[in-house]
Symmetry: C2
Subunit: 273 residues, 2 copies
Amino acid sequence: MHGKESIRMFGIHSPLQNRLLAALPPAEYRRVEPYLEPVAMRRGTVLYESGARLSHVYFPTTSIVSLLYVMADGASSETAAVGKEGMVGVPLFTGGGSMPNRGVVRNAGYGYRLKEHILKQEFNRIGELHSLLLRYTQALLTQMAQTAVCNRHHSVSQQLCRWLLLSLDRLDSNELNMTQEMIANMLGVRREGITEAAGKLQHSGIISYCRGHITVLNRAALEAKVCECYHVLRGEFERLLPDDSIHTAHPAGGPVLAEQNPAQYKTTCHGNT
Amino acid sequence: MHGKESIRMFGIHSPLQNRLLAALPPAEYRRVEPYLEPVAMRRGTVLYESGARLSHVYFPTTSIVSLLYVMADGASSETAAVGKEGMVGVPLFTGGGSMPNRGVVRNAGYGYRLKEHILKQEFNRIGELHSLLLRYTQALLTQMAQTAVCNRHHSVSQQLCRWLLLSLDRLDSNELNMTQEMIANMLGVRREGITEAAGKLQHSGIISYCRGHITVLNRAALEAKVCECYHVLRGEFERLLPDDSIHTAHPAGGPVLAEQNPAQYKTTCHGNT
DNA sequence: TTTTCATTGTGAGTTAACGCACATACCGTT
DNA sequence: AACGGTATGTGCGTTAACTCACAATGAAAA
């Protein structure tokens, strides 16, 4: 079942595809680089359980990790998502150790991890990694705040648009592997609600949805439908963690990534509009 | 109109009523203490506007500050609240400068503020203040995540209970000055929704509500009605910022505070059950 | 091919919260 | 005592989202 996933891991990979790592000055990057362990992140893998202590922090490159809150009755909500713009394991350097949510891979892909003490060592040097991670923490705060507001005030359909766009941004892609049921769990709504909202988007020709595989056909239309939450978040992320803070000439997206999200991983759809 | 407020400010006040300041080791506390400016925080005062740069950070002692997100159409939601357990102005030390929400005093009281450069100076010494503020940032993350989840899954009535309990905890009191309209703005729901939920609590004898003045009569019953969100948050706050991290023998609650939240500040109610 | 399972689509009835309109109650002031 | 403004209570129709049940479809396995 996971054979295909291991195949797709053999693209051109580099820790520099993670924007935090890429933004490190060369001296700092060289210091941590030997300790960065490549990790194949498989969908559904739980990086950490609610309240558990992490042994590593993860820097996704082509994967997306969901910070999922699971309640006592089983209901769930994604409070934030982490892709190549960020890092999983903030509680390790804030000193809290754990958080009451789950970190689960929701989009298979690649990433790099670092042992706790290596991260802490470099963090405590109070160099660029220190300030980068603090800025990222603020971006995470903003993301959670925006999620709270969006949950309160916006329709399922608007939230779906936001969720889609935020996911696509993190993949530099227009495709996504995710069933409606999974999306419903992330947004904390019913599966039928997603079916309805996604159905409308599909009839409008904005997306094409088939058995766990979504393709965005008209991104501009999606951006027109989404609530302000997406634009605010995107603006804040760019302000706090600008693309041009990357110190190498290594392209952080583009054609390289296309090869890393091959179609082979998804189910094939017949009448894919 | 604000004469009464200035009267109530002349109680016994100390920066040590703020738990972050109280948790500083003596050496660090002595270093910042000369720069702590006492501030009378009046209800409605906007400490910072969305996107604006702060000149000071605030350490509430007997006041509560609401981190309020106001949307383009005027709808609003509180994403977190800050009382004596915390600090207003996290973006100053994370390096982001601003956040897309508003910091507004929702419970009049006292606090202390510190100029930006003094805070940064001490923060950059990487002592206890540094780790305290990081732990507090994590507590803030947790609070926002929990707000997001609660907004999604719980009824207005449960959220009201959570909001009441979190507010009372920050005041060490069983009374609160807040109209239903204001609460509705914080929770991002209709005023009538609060009227209904509060009415039920009142008929059950759990609270007594009259024209902007709430008294909790049966806290145990309130805790029995509230959703898990409150308990999770309370647990996390105690784990991250324990009371016994306070280095002085100065009591951080109790009878001293009773004098600081006098009944004179509110409207008088006739048939107060 | 047939079977089986996961995924998506759809319909009917229910509920919580909404928007709006207005009645009532209370406080401070004149 | 009367008044004006703020705060709270209430009723009614509307709506978005929910629960539940089940049909239809595509993909993979037998």
